[in-house]
Symmetry: C2
Subunit: 245 residues, 2 copies
């Protein structure tokens, strides 16, 4: 039978085959990018969840540190022999509470920015991806129709149908190509935007924590000076065993 298939038809088939293989290559690259984006979104959501948990826990700890600060201060007033010991513990807990609140501000700023990136910017791109995917399903359907008609007889009866099918195929091919283009453009911009936002937020997150520990350390040293404390004291050759623990 194959021998009777007109050359024209064979050429059309050949044309489709080449075009499809090219498209499939492009699509596979796009697919890969989309899979990575969806995978990254999950990972960023996890970071977001953990940062929110950390924020809640720090908030609660700051509350406890403030209460400890007050309790130590009260005992400092009422204990002659332990006035200093309660005193610098009060100062330290109050300092940690104060700086903890500042750190909390930075962590919550990180959370807000990453939340916008994940649930607005990335989500918006994934909506376009969904439209692209349904455009491809429609396109594939019309392409299959046309291919089947082209393999059938061509006469006064079928030619209008082929004509019609050709139009539908063309329209959905254009829509699909447009969507594919939209998606790859959006993915490109998203990638640039994402890297910029995350770079700033990750540096902020890290430096806020570094500043928190640096700040406390500086101010703790002042407390120690103020109370003339040597860090080595009976019961606290600790720093050593603390490290070994």
């Amino acid at each position: 039978m194959a021998l009777t298939i007109p050359k024209r038809v064979l050429l059309k088939q050949e044309h489709f085959k080449v075009a499809r293989e090219h498209r499939q290559k492009v699509d596979l690259e796009l697919e890969a990018q989309i899979d990575i984006l969806r995978d990254n979104k999950k990972k960023y959501e996890n970071i977001l969840k953990l940062a929110q948990t950390l924020s809640t826990q720090l908030f609660q700890m700051v509350h406890t540190q403030r209460q400890l600060g007050d309790a130590f201060a009260d005992l400092s007033l009422k204990s002659l022999e332990l006035h200093e010991e309660f005193g610098y513990n009060a100062d330290t807990q109050k300092l940690l509470a104060k700086n903890g609140e500042t750190l909390l501000g930075a962590i919550n700023f990180f959370i807000a920015s990453v939340n916008t990136l994940v649930n607005k910017t990335i989500e918006d791109t994934l909506m376009t991806v969904k439209q692209y995917e349904s455009a491809r399903i429609e396109y594939d359907a019309y392409r299959t129709d046309l291919e089947e008609l082209n393999l059938g007889p061509r006469d006064a009866n079928t030619l209008p149908k082929i004509e019609q099918s050709q139009h539908l195929f063309q329209a959905h091919k254009e829509k699909y190509d447009k969507m594919r283009n939209d998606v790859s453009v959006k993915l490109k911009f998203l990638e640039e935007n994402k890297v910029k936002v995350l770079h700033n937020q990750l540096v902020l997150f890290h430096n806020a924590i570094a500043a928190y520990f640096a700040g406390n350390q500086k101010q703790l040293e002042q407390t120690l000076k103020q109370f003339h404390i040597k860090l080595k004291t009976p019961g606290v050759d600790a720093p050593s065993w603390l490290e070994e623990q």
Copy 2:
């Protein structure tokens, strides 16, 4: 009537009056010490409760920091452009988790020692105080009996009763004096012991926290060096607004 009261009786009354006034003075001083001890115990119990809350909160935060460390590390491996940013955040969170556990060990040591002081050492003294207080109630009862009998007639009929009452009074006076002495001795030793224990524990508590922040700060600086990070970076002229927050 008063004129008919024998001189002997008046002298006895006078004797009782002086003795009682002296005893009352001693008792008042002891009462004051006991009130302070009971008040302090409440305050120490509050510190203990808060330190236990802090320990629980730090434990949970360390858990979150470890999870964040792993999540950042995973993203560091899989992100070319943000490899470093995720990388030093991973290192920092893992460092905080590690040192947080060490601090946790110090806080729990503080809790255990203060708990022993409050719920064993102080509690034991307060048991002796209770015995002293009931000894005084008995003593007061027998004293009143004897005083009343001494104000009544002295004849063959009453003399044995007075004799008997005199014995009971004497026995309970000795028991009471012994208890009073036990209490003031215990209070004295407790005070010395308490000051020694609390001094060491308060210095440990403070220095463990200072060591924690100092340790993190030293190691954070190494992380920053390792990653060639300047603490001033786009999005993080932060330290300034962080402080203003």
